[in-house]
Amino acid sequence: MNWYGLYTLFSKEVWRFLKVATQTILAPVITVLLYLLIFVSVLEGHVEVYQGISYSTFLVPGLIMMSIIQNAFANSSSSFFQSKMTGSLVFLLLPPLSSLEFYLAYTGASVLRGLLVGIGVWIAALFFVSLPIYNFWILLSFSILGSALLGSLGLIASIYAERWDHVSAFQNFLILPLTFLSGVFYKLESLPEFWEAASYYNPFFYMIDGFRYGFLGVSEINISLSLLIVSGFLVIVSAICLWILHIGYKIRY
């Protein structure tokens, strides 16, 4: 392993998003706060998802996880795609960096950005709701697994993409629908039967549900099962990502 090379690439990726932290951290936090304001002011008092838990308390964990995974995806996809477009990707292809080192550096930076945004949203939300942590380790596991999953998905998308709209298509037609249909805003049980059944095939649902458990101590699905499913998806997506990096798909001709 070229550990120092991996560390350098990881720091470069972190440095890149910290340099524009207003865009990469602050802006997403504000977006989520807007969601929170709108949904809570409309629905608070009308909807009770779990007994004894207010709607805002139900909503905030989902919103935090949503922002974690969206930003993890945005980080690796925009960074990698940009270096592909400027051509500066060549400077990462010439040194002795393996596909695993490449993958770990990009995914690691995505996880870090996801976590920072997540913490930002959580702190900001504390001004609106009281949200004690039920199990810190569950929160940490789900946020790391989820952001790593989306980070590697972002890498795959940007390796595949040839134009910016390919990346945004990935975001708008895959990530966004899967996030909105994952039970961030509601409980699956409250959906019509078909959509409820379909939602069980959505990996995002297990991330949101498991993460929420870390705050509230209640979940729709057994927490170990969610953990298993999310880990399984991470393994599959990472394997695909490592494979296309290894064969140099659309990178090395």
Binding site: N2, L9, L92, L94, P95
Partner: protein
Amino acid sequence: MPPAIKISQLHKHYKTLHALRGVDFEVPTGCFFGLLGPNGAGKSTLINIMAGLVHATHGNVRIMGYDVRQQWRQARQSLGIVPQELVIDPFFSVRQLLRLQSGYFGLGAENNPWIEQLLDSLNLSEKADTNLQRLSGGMKRRVLIAQALVHKPPVIVLDEPTAGVDVELRQALWAFTKHLHKNGHTIVLTTHYLEEAENLCEQFAILNQGELVALDSKSAILARYPYRFLRLTLTNPNVNLPTTLQANVQSIQNGELVLRFHRKNDQIASILDKLRIAKIHFSDLRTEEPSLEDVFLNLTTAKKA
């Protein structure tokens, strides 16, 4: 000691295009090597295969004895590439970029003195903290060269480093590469400035349409060209050349007549006789050896016809 670069039976297909057709040669360690060929000959493809940026369809390349696919870490560590395209990372300053690049090769702060030395030798010290976006084209070119050298590779490949570079910088770059060569680096150079290649390189490979058409030392390659030239300064620029000489005329302009004659089959004496008979007088006479350009054109255009 293995050769710096060993290329064996290399083929590259890009979909339907057969860009390299069984290229086979070695670059000896410590050599200043010229890789020449017209546009589209396959030079960059060959270089990109050395760098691992392109995968060969068949055959292999070894850098300092390391196979670029099997022992890619050692191969890449041994190779410094200056790519043909001017690419930059718009996020960083020159010094930051060089430190990152050195880090990717596994080198930490211990390499910083070398980076400062590179900045200094390439006249980049003043711009070391400037963002790359705000550098001129020539400066970006120098940054590319510095980037290729951060890990002190024994083999350095420059893919048209002087394209779009002014005369002064070109001279400076050549002086710098000569210096690297003197310090024991193997240098592979592609350029379309043949006169400069002729001055710098000790050995040449000439590619044409994906095939190696010549591989030799400078003197041997120049000797391949069967003709020499006779340059005459005419006393009367308006002369009628006799038909017996028409076949030998290379050019005639501004009162300078250049005749081409075959090393073996033509004799200077008989040419001079013909001139005397035709009453063509001249005030000066010189013989000239062919230049690399003549050989190059001879080898790369003959093929097309």
